[in-house]
Amino acid sequence: MKRIYVNEKWCLGCHLCEYECAFANSGLTDMVKALKGKAIRPNIRVEDGNGVHFAVNCRHCSDPICVHSCIAGALSAEDGTVKIDGEKCVGCFTCVLVCPYGAILPSADGRIAQKCMLCLNNSCGEPNCVKHCINNAIVYEERG
């Protein structure tokens, strides 16, 4: 299974992945319309500090505690991808409470949770953050 992995040493902290994630999940084709003047709420977040930068998004864990903990059956793991069904989610945030990476987030309106689905749920078809990372600090590949 291909997954997103982080090369911390190569991350410049440019936050471009956050914008590309928000754009990919906006449902819009015009980046300016999608992002300009808006508070973005990406599923990937870059942490910065003391010369260290790295991006964090869902690890699609092999034993996903968020799926196990979901009170609504809204989270599921299929073919190695952890998915959330926004129609079933009631926004209790038990998943936010248990994710050890802080990778599931309340949605903008706070009514449901949101998470990375590897862009399989939007028109990109492959992780848009990885595609546009300028320094290969995030990659989408098979690893042990």
Partner: protein, 409 residues
């Protein structure tokens, strides 16, 4: 191999899934006195609130039983376990033989003796879908509701119905709402929010006597109501195991493989006790994630695998009218507090470990704190100073991050 599961909620479903993952051929029978397809039990308040519906609140897809080859015996009660003969006796007289049995029988409402309760014409519990459907039938804009109990169940009920009735009163003997998960300050923030939605609280108070639709409180106050909801507490359904000679305390006792003291009889979910690694005591942790972890562990062991559930901690995420309370662990040790506007953070730590936390309306990345509690992470291995202010992976070592972010987890 014949697997029998008493129950059809979280622990039962998790066990069935774990069994099927290891044993494609064995027979699985699920027995439940509820007739419904498995549903997210805590969703009953969201159902009344209109945030979900019967279809969407299914805990697993409609084809769950068929797909997993599960025989369902619903609408019938498991009344007795014959541990010597390895049979479960049902309320309709049938006996179901098992090789491995799981008791995931949950809990039931605790209704304390209350003077005059029999004179109240319209009263409900709030634990099952049937409870919610029955309550829904009597809701209307002119009704006044009295909820006895300001805990998790009572207040989720309040949220579910507040917009559908004229008035909701809540009475509780405790001096604050949600006493099991909040301290005084946290409780005051949420209480104010609930009051803004029309709730009226009578705390450090209780009903001395009911007289039809009138409640006389100990404080002398008199409340007129149309609907009574009793949400005082719950009791674990231990009797099946107890009567068969198995060890029970307040809940059914199991080892960390979820097996009871009866051979080939396992137990999981709200009917059991867990070993809470924060307090190092056995206690009932009637929480949905805990039920899932226990059920999955039981199922794996029932099917011949080897699983141990050894890091139970209390954890709770609960929302009210857009506010979110996230808590975990236990509240002892030194504290770190932040009060900003209507948000509140309190961390509890001692002996180089995080013991617990309360987060009101700052849910983001709370799981990083939870992981510190569940893993009993030594705090001198992380930058706890920065973690106090903000849960972030930056506070962990580069090696930890490489393990988690650059490898398969």
């Amino acid at each position: 191999m014949e697997y029998v599961i008493i129950g059809n909620s979280t622990a039962a479903v998790a066990a069935a899934e774990a069994i099927r993952a290891k044993d494609a051929a064995g027979g699985i029978t699920m027995i439940s006195d509820e007739k419904h397809h498995t549903y997210g039990r805590p969703l009953i308040s969201y159902y009344l609130l209109g945030r979900t519906d019967r279809e969407r609140m299914k805990y697993r897809p409609s084809d769950f039983y068929a797909k997993n080859g599960i025989r369902t015996l619903f609408g019938v009660r498991a009344e007795k376990i014959d541990a010597a003969d390895k049979k479960v006796c049902l309320s309709d007289g049938r006996k179901i033989a098992y090789d491995k049995l799981l008791v995931a029988a949950g809990s039931r409402p605790f209704v304390p003796p209350m003077e005059g309760i029999e004179s109240v014409p319209c009263k409900f519990n709030f634990m099952t879908l049937d409870d919610a459907l029955a309550l829904e039938k009597v809701l209307s804009p002119e009704k006044r509701v009295l909820i006895v109990g300001a805990g998790l169940i009572g207040l989720k009920c309040l949220e579910g119905i507040a917009g559908r009735v004229k008035k909701v009163f809540v009475a509780d003997m405790a001096d604050r709402i949600l006493p099991s998960i909040l301290d005084g300050y946290g409780a005051s923030l949420i209480q104010k929010k609930l009051e803004r939605h029309g709730a009226e609280f009578f705390l450090s108070d209780s009903v001395q006597e009911f007289d039809g639709n009138t409640a006389h409180l100990k404080s002398g106050k008199v409340l007129e109501f149309d609907i009574l909801v009793i949400a005082v507490g719950v009791r674990a359904n231990v009797e099946l195991v107890q009567d068969a000679g198995g060890k029970v305390g307040r809940g059914i006792l199991t080892d960390d493989r979820q097996e009871t003291s009866l051979k080939d009889v396992y137990a999981a979910g709200d009917c059991t006790e867990s070993y809470d690694i924060t307090t190092k005591t056995c206690r009932i942790l009637a929480l949905l994630p805990n039920a899932q972890f226990q059920g999955a562990c039981a199922g794996t062991n029932m099917a011949g695998g080897e699983a141990h559930f050894a890091n139970a901690v209390p954890m709770n995420a609960i929302g009210f009218f857009g506010s979110h309370v996230l808590t975990a662990g236990s509240y002892f040790g030194e504290t770190y507090e932040e009060k900003k506007g209507d948000t509140y953070k309190k961390l509890f730590y001692s002996d180089n470990r995080l013991n617990g936390f309360i987060l009101v309306d700052i849910p983001e990345r709370a799981g990083i704190y939870t992981s510190l509690i569940r893993n009993r992470t030594p705090l001198d291995e992380v930058d706890f100073g920065s973690l106090k202010e903000e849960p972030a992976l930056m506070a962990f070592s580069a090696q930890y991050r490489a393990e988690k972010l650059a490898k398969r987890v």
